[in-house]
Amino acid sequence: MSSPLGPTVFIVDDYAPGRRSISRLLRTAGFAVTACASAKEFLAQYDPETSGCLVLDLAMPAVSGLELQNILAERGSLLPIIFLTAHGDVPKSVQAMKRGATDFLTKPVNDEDLLAAVRVAIEKHRALRREQAELSEIRARLATLTPREREVLEYVVAGKLNKQIAAELGTVEQTVKIHRAHVMQKMRAQSVAELVRLTQRCGIGGSV
């Protein structure tokens, strides 16, 4: 049922009437829904490329909600998880939130709360995916730099002047200027400020 066009809400709950009712509610609100009775069933059909979110029941036999959250984290999934439980167990909710759950709702859940949480989660997934795409783009650009250009880049974002960089590298200012122009071009940065922003997102710079 997952739509390649819009986001899909996955529901994993062993309790059939609960699963059905949440599915109905979300479908009526216009979401594409995929409902699964167990973690195993979900993992068998989940495509990481699908955007959306996961509404997950906490207490399930065999693989519990928290265990599924762990499995997804190990696989590097970005799918936001909204935990839904019939009993607000404080230690478990803390554990879930620490591991990055988007929300923790208790049954019976009001439709507005659930829909709001789902919208937030979908938006979050979208943002995360966009960010991840940008990040891989920046990493790809970084990968095109020569080791010397990479060194120059680090001095530039650290705020050093060409003269200083030349002194550090034991070369002349002119050479540094050429490397710097290559860096700006390869990184597609219009200004030093933009370069700093790009490199910071990859965790480079600031402390040389």
Binding site: P17, S21, R24, L25, T28, A86, H87, D89, P108, D111
Partner: protein
């Protein structure tokens, strides 16, 4: 006055005295015909003595003829009543001999009055007088009748009868009686032979038939007075023992009673009257007794009494009486029924004990037990509150989401009737589900009286697994059940039995908390105990086992190995199972972990226990 006159008169007087005395005794104890027969034979012996004295002093033939004829009347009475007495008193003597003597003696009497003069003489021609012991005595001289032989035959039969009866008594082991009475009887029967010998002219002595009997009368009089003395002694002992019994009854708070069923009259001691709230002089019948019983217990008492009247079993019934002032008293009534010859219940005798104090203590103990069990359930419910909230919130959540989905559908305008039907169906079934959860919870928390139901233990196990399903899931414990089919039903309180199982299962889960997730397996088994009289349930875990010296220790109150435990669970469980007449015990498994077992008597056995 001649000495003969004096001795014969004294003999007659002695016999009469005995006769009179025992006649009076008989008048007081009409059913005791022994006394009457004895009195008759003694009277007859006195009469014979009188007749003999008359004959010895007789001087005319006419007078002698008359006397010889009429002496047969007391002789008949003596013989018949003597034989009857022997048979009744000694329970000896052959019936055919006795009846032969009766008929022969009757025949002799009849013939005696048919033939001229008497059965002994066709005619008395003369009176012969001779001197005996310094006195002149008269004996008849005449033509002997051949019929006189009949009289002698009856005398012979009497001798045989006496010897036979004496042998019987001797063989029975009553030697004293055989010697005394039998001996005197034989002695008398032998001496009586002087009569025909005198008549035949062989012996020359005065008639002394009266004396032959005196010996017998004296011996029997002695025996009978022994009996009378013994009876008087018994009466005295009876009186003393009755006093003792009354004293014991008084001090034991017993009310003794007797119910004459035929006349429907009830007699009861003063203590008993006070116990039931009857007025001191009030006339009592069964209806009055029934009305004193607490209305709620009347059917029970009636059933117990009917059962006793029909089967003759011992009467035993515990019930309440409602006193006029509204006070309630517990009575333990016991007794037995006596039947008359026709097999109809004639009377019931028994005693009633005031057991109010004991009953109050029992009820108090039962109330404590119930409260303890309730408290423990509430505690468990607190521990399980997560589970319970879960069980309740799941259906509520489904209802809410379904209803809100439907609202949105309506708002969107696109109403799909089929979908709507499904939504409503789900809402209805989830609502029922929630109601069922609440009902179970309410039962669990109820502080009601202990119920006695006939129930299937497998259902109790399944109910418990439903109740704590979520806890098992959240603790990653999987449950294997091995529930035997066709188990007999047991009698018990479903909630309390659930409580025991919940406790055992929760304990088992706690014991496995440190195990690897895959090792957390719990096994619940039901089956029939070896003897087949009880159902056995066992809960097996794979935890660390019971780590105390004495396994029994874990059943003691306030014993706990848990950080948060109060140590009441198992002791309450044992109390509950004990109140169900079952057993609860624990064993460590050979491999790992521990097993808790409990038994419950199957229904039929439980009923037997209640009755005995």
């Amino acid at each position: 006055m001649s000495w003969i006159t004096a001795v014969w008169s004294m003999n007659a007087a002695a016999c009469l005295t005995f006769a009179g005395f025992y006649f009076v005794v008989w008048c007081k104890q009409r059913q005791n015909l022994v006394y009457l027969f004895f009195s008759c034979s003694a009277t007859a012996a006195a009469a014979i003595s009188a007749f003999e004295l008359w004959m010895l002093n007789s001087t005319t033939v006419e007078q002698y003829e008359l006397l010889v004829r009429w002496i047969h009347v007391p002789t008949f009475v003596l013989t018949v009543s003597f034989v009857a007495f022997v048979r009744l008193y000694l329970r000896a003597g052959r019936a055919w001999l006795a009846w032969s003597i009766y008929s022969l003696r009757t025949l002799v009497l009849i013939l005696n009055f048919i033939f001229a003069v008497s059965i002994n003489f066709t005619a008395i021609t003369n009176i012969r007088q001779f001197s005996w012991g310094g006195q002149l005595v008269s004996v008849p001289v005449g033509t002997r009748s051949p019929w006189g032989l009949l009289s002698s035959v009856s005398l012979l039969l009497l001798l045989i009868f006496s010897v036979d009866a004496t042998i019987t008594v001797w063989r029975r082991g009553d030697r004293r009686r055989a010697l005394l009475i039998g001996g005197s009887m034989i002695f008398g029967a032998v001496l009586a032979w002087h009569v025909p010998l005198v008549i035949w002219g062989i012996l020359e002595v005065p008639f002394f038939l009266g004396f032959t009997y005196t010996a017998i009368v004296a011996v029997m009089g002695y025996e009978l007075s022994n009996d009378v003395a013994r009876a008087a002694g018994l009466a005295r002992e009876l009186e003393v023992s009755e006093k003792r019994l009354n004293l014991a009854a008084e001090s034991a708070n017993l009310g003794m009673w007797e119910w004459d069923i035929v006349h429907d009259e009830i007699w009861i001691t003063e203590k008993g009257r006070a116990m039931f709230g009857f007025a001191p002089s009030e006339k009592l019948d069964f209806d009055r007794f029934r009305s004193s019983v607490h209305p709620e217990d009347r059917a029970l008492v009636l059933q117990a009494v009917e059962n006793v009247l029909q089967t003759g079993a011992e009467y035993r019934s515990e019930y309440r009486v409602l006193l006029p002032d509204g006070q309630v008293r517990w009575i333990d009534g016991r007794g037995h029924v006596e039947f008359n010859g026709a097999g109809q219940p004639a009377r019931m005798r028994g005693a009633s004990l005031d057991i109010t104090k004991r009953k109050q203590a029992e009820l108090e103990a039962a109330r404590h037990r119930t409260e303890m069990a309730h408290l423990s359930r509430v505690t468990t419910a607190g521990e399980l509150s997560g589970s319970l909230a879960h069980e309740l919130n799941r259906p509520l959540g489904a209802i809410l989401s379904n209803a809100q989905a439907a609202q949105r559908m309506l708002a969107n305008g696109g109403v799909d009737v089929a979908e709507f039907r499904e939504i409503l169906n789900d809402i209805v079934s989830e609502n029922k589900h929630a109601a069922e959860v609440i009902r179970r919870l309410r039962l669990w928390l109820q502080k009601g009286e202990v119920q006695q139901h006939s129930l299937h233990i497998n259902k109790v196990v399944r109910d418990v697994l439903k109740l704590i399903r979520t806890d098992l899931i959240s603790q990653n414990v999987s449950v294997d059940t091995e529930l035997a089919r066709n188990l007999p039903t047991v009698t018990g309180d479903p909630v309390q039995l659930q409580q025991v199982l919940v406790n055992l299962v929760v304990n088992a889960c706690d014991a496995m908390a440190d195990c690897d997730t895959r090792e957390r397996r719990l096994r619940i088994r039901t089956g029939l105990e070896k003897g087949g009289d009880a159902v056995i349930v066992s809960v097996t875990d794979r935890g660390g086992g019971i780590q105390v010296k004495e396994v029994e220790q874990i059943f003691e109150p306030f014993f706990t190995t848990k950080a948060k435990g109060m140590g009441l669970g198992l002791s309450v469980c044992r109390t509950i199972i004990g109140a169900h007449r079952g057993k609860l015990w624990a064993t460590n498994n050979a491999e790992r972990g521990a097993t808790f077992h409990f038994t419950l008597l199957k229904d039929a056995s439980a009923k037997e226990v209640l009755i005995t």
